[in-house]
């Protein structure tokens, strides 16, 4: 398709400010007379707080808050589900701490140093309780319980055996399916807790206003949900709460919720009656959230002709001390599993269990990388055991065009209308040299190379033909200025991936305006309609969907005003861009001589007092198309040290029309790095005696990939499938989370191909590889 700006590589709108260090992040916000805040965090995994003595801190001039001085409100940080499916267990400050590092009190003072010293002067008396740190032990009858009761919506709910929530789904008759199978393959997989490691630590600045309201600058993926939850907690009218939209220094899910430090800062600011800034230390931040871990048991039945006939997946998620949408997580995990292959008859049993650990929250993929690692490893195991080609086996059974896709578990589904799976697997196989791949048995010597493939997807948004358990719609306001330039007001957060540029391009394309004449306005919750969240890979598909919906209405208004000026029927008019004059004109169809520029129309509309050409509206996408990916990864295993290098990677994406091809590539390559971290290095584990993080909160002991671990530039190849999503803005789907989902499985499959050892647990560290090699691990095939 011939586009004017869609698909063109253009400088990002915030690029100049970011390279000059002038782009404001929440942590850069300074308000006159603001105090600096620090939180006091629990040293125990599980304890009742008997007494908190803040007298010494207060005598130092600090303002302090303790659990008795904040609203006694029970909430769930993440409010994207409908209220009756939202499990709430969290307080602004708890009277009982449930993990090491949970904030229990906070102080604000004139300097950071004074705040820190005052925090250290607070005395806490604890009654230490027995803790539970293993999810399976947590479900035993004798285990200590974290909660007696929580809330489901507004209803009280008893908690038994620390089970936070469950989801059990059966489709068809799995037992009959397994009975018809020629092979049944069963394995257990184990995926770790890892830390998001966004570069900007979670931050909030709260300024009390003269009208009794508050203004908030914070790291978030959703300004509107922050506003609404603060309104509930502090019983403030929403009209008096304003949350500013800012750039965020990376997120990956870490600010998908209203972070728990936000109401703490608000409570401090309201007590101090002056602005307060609370910046998490890196150590605080690591104690705030981790990626959901998962233990997965997977059983799949296959016939001799490589057709899958039944599957059974049992998932145990150790969610830690609080539910941050673990119920929809289990639903989504069922959906990621249900939508990878046509299992025919299948079962999903998911259980989320409380433990005295850092709470799990969404992190790029929301259960998908976990499920994908299990299923895509399993597909290779089956292919090896049953003698199928791994690619042909996948192509024979994948869920593709015309099939049903579970975009958000069993309640949000839509039919797949665009699919590049076959193209990507064919192209990827060719690029990596799949036909020359040899089995691990043919490999000898210290360094052994292997090639692995895995494929995956993510949903684009959480929309479906009918509203499900998850709220999904977005809003936009678009205004034509009197010189023909365009202002776009969008509530959609850009997490760095380029959603903002995509929004500009979609508006520019529809209105035939050049990219540099469209700007994103600086906005907040007061000046924008609702957007649920930049999550679920929905920024482009849903956010730009709303912008397109509004731009179409602006076009109608423009043509209507122009028709009055040109004295023509609006239906006979059209928009086009005139590059010689760098102007967007409205002209009579097939008679370009009769024309007027959109700037002139807007100016005349002002002079004639017709009004501003602007539209504000909301829009819900009624589909959730999967964006597909495939990863072909080559590894080189040093069998003496266990160290693995990645000489080559082929990253393939079916994102529909690529709106920002450069940023799409950037998302894929960035996800390769994070995926390699998940596959090979990262694990944020606890000491099973004390409940403390083994890394102590430090990056040094919780490493992420650096510049040195990536394949060389020329050895990373990116390929976009040629697809067009009929329901997406100009054919586009998402990419964000999909880009990561199959990296770890491709890596594990490549290691198997190199050394013949199958790893069912990540991270696949050099230590684990050496242990397996030295232990003479059973070499399959």
């Amino acid at each position: 398709m011939d586009f004017q700006v869609i698909g063109k590589v253009l400088p990002r709108k915030d690029g100049i400010a970011k390279v000059c260090g002038k782009e404001p992040f929440a942590s850069d916000i300074v308000v006159p007379h603001m105090l600096y805040a620090v939180t006091l965090r629990s040293e125990h995994a599980h304890a009742e707080i008997i007494k908190i003595d803040t007298s010494e801190a207060e005598s130092m001039g600090a303002v302090c808050i303790t659990p008795t001085e904040v609203p006694d409100f029970t909430y769930n940080e993440r409010t994207v589900s409908i209220p009756e499916k939202t499990f709430c267990d969290r307080k602004v400050l708890p009277r009982r701490v449930r993990h090491v590092g949970e904030a229990i009190a906070a102080v604000a003072a004139e300097t950071e140093e004074l705040a820190f010293r005052a925090m250290q002067a607070i005395k806490v008396e604890y009654n230490v309780l027995p803790s539970v740190l293993d999810p399976e032990e947590a479900m035993q009858p004798e285990a200590a319980s974290l909660y007696d009761e929580i809330l489901l919506g507004k209803q009280q709910l008893k908690v038994k055996n620390n089970v936070a929530c469950e989801r059990n789904i059966v489709i068809g008759d799995p037992e009959a399916g397994f009975a018809a199978a020629d092979y049944i393959v069963e394995r257990d997989y184990d995926l770790p807790r890892i830390y998001h490691h966004q570069m900007e630590t979670k931050t909030v600045v709260c300024q009390p206003e003269a009208n009794g309201g508050i203004t908030i600058w914070t790291t978030t993926q959703t300004i509107h949900n922050v506003r609404q939850l603060l309104g509930q907690i502090f019983e403030l009218p929403l009209s008096k709460i304003n949350v500013k939209k800012l750039s965020i220094g990376g997120s990956f899910g870490s600010s998908i919720q209203m972070n728990s430090m936000i109401p703490i800062c608000v409570a401090l600011a309201l007590k101090a009656r002056c602005p307060v800034k609370l910046v998490s230390s890196r150590e605080d931040d690591i104690h705030d959230h981790v990626k959901f871990p998962a233990r997965i048991k997977l059983k799949v039945g296959v016939t001799k002709d490589a057709k899958i006939v039944a599957a059974d997946m049992r998932v145990l998620v150790d969610i830690g001390a609080h539910q941050i949408n673990s119920y929809p997580l289990l639903g989504c995990m069922s959906g990621w599993y249900a939508s990878l292959y046509k299992w025919q008859d299948f079962r999903f049993d998911g259980t989320a269990v409380y433990t005295n650990k850092v709470p799990g929250c969404a992190m790029q993929g929301y259960g998908n990388p976990e499920v994908n690692f299990a299923v895509e490893s399993h597909m290779d195991v089956i292919a090896n055991e049953c003698g199928f080609d791994p690619i042909e086996f996948r192509l024979k059974n994948y869920v593709g065009i015309g099939d049903e896709f579970w975009g958000q578990g069993p309640t949000v589904k839509s039919i797949i209308k665009s699919c590049g799976v076959e193209e990507m697997l064919t192209v990827g196989a060719e690029k990596i040299g799949w036909s020359e791949r040899r089995s691990s048995q043919a490999k000898t010597g210290r360094y052994r190379k292997g090639v692995g493939i895995a494929r995956g997807f993510h949903t684009s948004g959480t929309g479906g033909p009918k509203p499900g358990e998850v709220i999904d719609y977005s809003s936009a306001t678009i205004k034509i200025n009197e010189d023909g330039t365009v202002d776009v007001l969008s509530p959609v957060m850009d997490l760095g991936g380029g959603t903002g540029e995509a929004t500009v391009k979609v508006v520019a394309e529809l209105l035939k305006v050049p990219y540099d004449k469209v700007e994103l306005a600086i906005v907040d919750t007061r000046t924008t309609g609702y957007d649920v969240n930049t999550h679920a890979t929905r920024g482009v598909y849903c956010g730009c969907g709303a912008a397109l919906h509004v731009a179409k209405q602006v076009k109608i208004k423009l043509l209507e005003f122009a028709s009055r000026i040109l004295e023509e029927n609006p239906d006979d008019l059209d928009l086009s861009y005139e590059p010689e004059d760098n102007k967007t004109i409205i002209h009579v169809k097939r008679f370009k001589q009769k024309q007027i520029s959109i700037g002139e129309v807007a100016k005349l509309a002002q002079i004639y007092s017709w009004g501003t050409i602007a539209v504000s509206d909301s829009y819900r996408q009624r589909n959730c198309p999967p964006c597909f990916v495939a990863h072909f990864i080559e590894v080189e295993v040093d069998t003496w040290t266990g160290i693995v290098k990645v000489p080559r990677a082929i990253l393939l994406a079916d994102s529909g029309t690529p709106i920002n091809p450069d940023m799409l590539e950037g998302q894929l390559i960035g996800s390769l790095s994070r995926g390699l971290g998940y596959a090979a290095y990262e694990s944020t584990e606890n000491d099973l005696e004390t409940g403390k993080l083994l890394c102590g909160g430090f990056i040094t002991d919780n490493k992420i990939p650096t510049s040195c671990e990536m394949p060389l530039m020329d050895n990373i190849q990116v390929y976009f499938a040629h697809t067009y999503e009929p329901t997406g803005p100009f054919g586009a789907k998402g990419i964000g989370e999909a880009a990561l989902n199959s990296v770890a499985a491709a890596y594990a499959n490549a290691i198997y191909n190199a050394i013949g050892i199958r790893f069912y647990q990540t991270p696949i560290t050099p230590e684990r590889i050496l242990q397996a090699l030295e232990g003479g691990a059973s070499v399959e095939n």
Partner: protein, 164 residues
Amino acid sequence: MEKRLIKVTINGKLRELFVKSNDLLLNVLRNDLNLMGTKYGCGIGECGACTVLLDGQTVLACLILAVTVDGQEITTIEGMGDPVQLHPLQESFIEHGAVQCGFCTPGMLLAGEALLKENPNPSEEEIREYLRGNLCRCTGYAAIVKAIKSEAKSQSADPGTLSE
């Protein structure tokens, strides 16, 4: 705590500052001088987000006491270029899609600049090794490496630079 007077050239301008003996350079830059391009990422030298140039060498502002830079010269991202006149490496970062969230960007740019001063034509491996202490969670580093490599190429293609 008693404050001491230090004289520092920051982004080409000589400044006289009163700092406490335990003030970190990072906090002085951000809180006293409002130079917000130098970022806090960890506070203990693990992430590189607070990279600045001290007499042309990369240092981590979170590990340096402000009193120790008395008489020296500091360049922060604000001194590298500005929106009206970008430094060529800043332009290269924009052109190569090396910026995503942008939080590591100032540190990466200053590290890249220091590298190109030390080694005008680095290999890809040398660039990656040099950036090892600057963490980025968004980009996977490839676009950043590419932006630095491309700028090195255009510098070495410039006869003015060669004759130095």
